[in-house]
């Protein structure tokens, strides 16, 4: 019985962790799918948004709902700033130039956050600070359920936006065939900044729930969010939104299980090893859909 309980508990923890990765990956993938550009400043924009919320919390703001709205608004602004500075000037130009520019902004955003709040760690109001719920022999943290519910809700809302709105038609057309989209009169520049705003909003939801679950925030949130979002996207097949959710959940499960069975030092190692194997073997689902 014991090994089975361990396995189920790890699976449960992995799904909860994977739900946060899935959210991060949805935002990252949205930008990558539309622009074919890796936005390294994706995580740092989220980090900056959460730092603004933390700063507001230290000075005047109270209540999780207020802090969430502050984090959301400032992440979206930071995301739009990244788009205008790094991606708008390089549209149709060099992908590497845009990526390097987004790396430079990563440094800038991190500097801004750490200049304003120089300590390495700040407390953040906890989403929930009671005991875990017990499900027979298994323990479930309520904030994990919130994370899972948020991931499902965001994925469903994103699906509806992409499939039921004029904006969604433009986004999917740009993902499918950018040149044909231009010929249909879809203005990539106008859609791009909206995509950044939407992706940043999703990232802010993810970042807020992660920070509030841990009841703390550090500058590492930026790099961590970019890495987990990118890794989950790659595991899910580069640029597909359902793949981002699957990749996020897979990454969570891999981390939870390898941490338990192999030890915490193997937690990231196994995920990267798997990514390496996937990149080397290139299974059929692991390919960018043709851009033309």
């Amino acid at each position: 019985m014991e090994p089975l309980v361990d396995f189920l508990q790890n699976t449960l923890d992995g799904i909860a962790l994977g739900a946060s990765y899935a959210l991060l990956a949805l935002g990252f993938t949205l930008i990558f799918g539309v622009l074919r550009r890796a936005n390294l400043s994706y995580g740092p924009a989220i980090m900056l948004g959460l730092y603004v919320a933390t700063w507001a919390h230290l000075h005047f703001a109270h209540g999780l709902a207020v802090l969430f709205l502050i984090a959301l608004a400032s992440t979206v602004l930071a995301g739009a700033y990244v788009e205008r500075l790094c991606f708008a000037p390089h549209r149709g130009g060099s992908a590497v130039a845009a990526m390097v520019a987004s790396f430079a902004l990563w440094m800038q955003l991190e500097e801004i956050a750490t200049l304003a709040l120089p300590r390495h760690l700040y407390e953040f109001p906890a989403l929930y600070d009671g005991p875990a719920l017990s499900l027979g022999p298994l323990a479930v943290r309520p904030e994990a359920l919130v994370m899972l519910a948020a991931a499902i809700t965001v994925a469903a809302a994103l699906w509806a936006i992409l499939h039921r709105t004029r904006f969604g038609t433009a986004v999917r057309a740009l993902i499918d065939a950018p040149r044909a989209a231009a010929l249909c009169g879809i203005h990539a520049g106008a859609v791009s900044i909206q995509v950044f705003a939407l992706a940043s909003a999703i990232g802010a939801i993810a970042g807020f729930l992660i920070v509030a679950s841990h009841a703390q925030v550090t500058p590492m949130l930026g790099m961590w969010s970019t890495l987990k979002g990118m890794l989950a996207m790659m595991l899910g097949g580069l640029g597909s939104l359902p793949g981002a959710v699957i990749g996020g959940l897979a990454l969570g499960l891999i981390e939870a299980h390898s941490q338990w069975y192999l030890g915490p030092q193997f937690r990231d190692f196994v995920a990267y090893l798997l990514l390496f194997a996937l990149l080397a073997l290139r299974p059929p689902w692991m390919s960018t859909r043709s851009a033309s």
């Binding site: 038609t169 499918d176 231009a182 010929l183 009169g185 879809i186």
Partner: protein, 234 residues
């Protein structure tokens, strides 16, 4: 209606268009012939705003359009059916049509119904991803998608490319029907036999320049063109 003067478009140092001048009259079907690599697709891409010309003018209904962004060119009433169709493969036929109507607000459903009347095969496949359609069906979808923007000038880049003869005939039947309904069409075509049946004016492009301009009669009389494009000697 469309007037092109001394248009030069280059890829780096290589000039693909080396001073192209031509006119498309309102209500006409004008056809551009020419060998592979002559610059026909470059011209279409430049007219649609995808490529920026280095020099020259494009005027459409009195407005300068050279160097203007593609979405503004669509807004001014020009739509291009691109070479190789370029449908949105992962979107349904219906969604492809909606993408074509991106800049419009009203009357979209009505136009879709009308186009389904003209292209009954697309109606049958409305909910299918466009990537699963046959080549001929994709070509019809590309034409229908371009028509969704209600263009006053339709540009078509080799609509018969890679299609079976029967399908090509169907495409040209549609081109003739569109023309009868008042459309102005500027067509790139290698299939001169088919083009001769519908077009009123021909241009020949070779190595980035216009080397012939005339009506179907003078085209058929030109010995060089006869051999190269109609495959018949006198």
């Amino acid at each position: 209606m469309l007037s092109v003067r001394d248009l030069v478009t280059a890829y780096g140092k290589i000039e693909a268009l080396r001073g192209v001048s031509l006119d498309v009259a309102q209500g006409s079907i004008t056809c551009l012939l020419g060998p592979n690599g002559a610059g026909k697709t470059t011209l279409m891409m430049t007219l649609a705003g995808i490529l920026k010309p280095r020099r020259g003018r494009v005027e459409f209904s009195g407005r300068r359009l050279d160097g203007v962004a593609p979405h503004r060119i669509v807004a001014s009433g020009i739509a291009l059916v691109p070479e190789n169709r370029l449908v949105f493969p992962n979107m349904t036929v219906l969604e492809n049509l909606h993408a074509g109507a991106y800049q419009r607000r009203g009357g979209i459903e009505h136009d879709i119904e009308r186009l389904f009347g003209r292209f009954p095969r697309l109606k049958e496949r409305a909910a299918q991803p466009a990537g699963t359609l046959s080549g001929g069906e994709q070509q019809m979808l590309a034409v229908a998608r371009a028509l969704m923007s209600r263009p006053s000038l339709l540009l078509m880049d080799e609509p018969s490319l890679g299609l079976a003869p029967l399908v090509v005939e169907e495409i040209f039947k549609i081109i003739a029907e569109l023309h009868r309904d008042g459309a102005t069409i500027f067509l790139v075509e290698q299939n001169a036999h088919m083009a001769l049946k519908v077009a009123q004016h021909f241009y020949l492009m070779e190595q980035g320049r216009i080397t012939f301009s005339g009506d179907p009669g003078s085209l058929a009389e030109d010995e060089v063109i006869r051999r190269a494009y109609l495959g018949t000697a006198r």
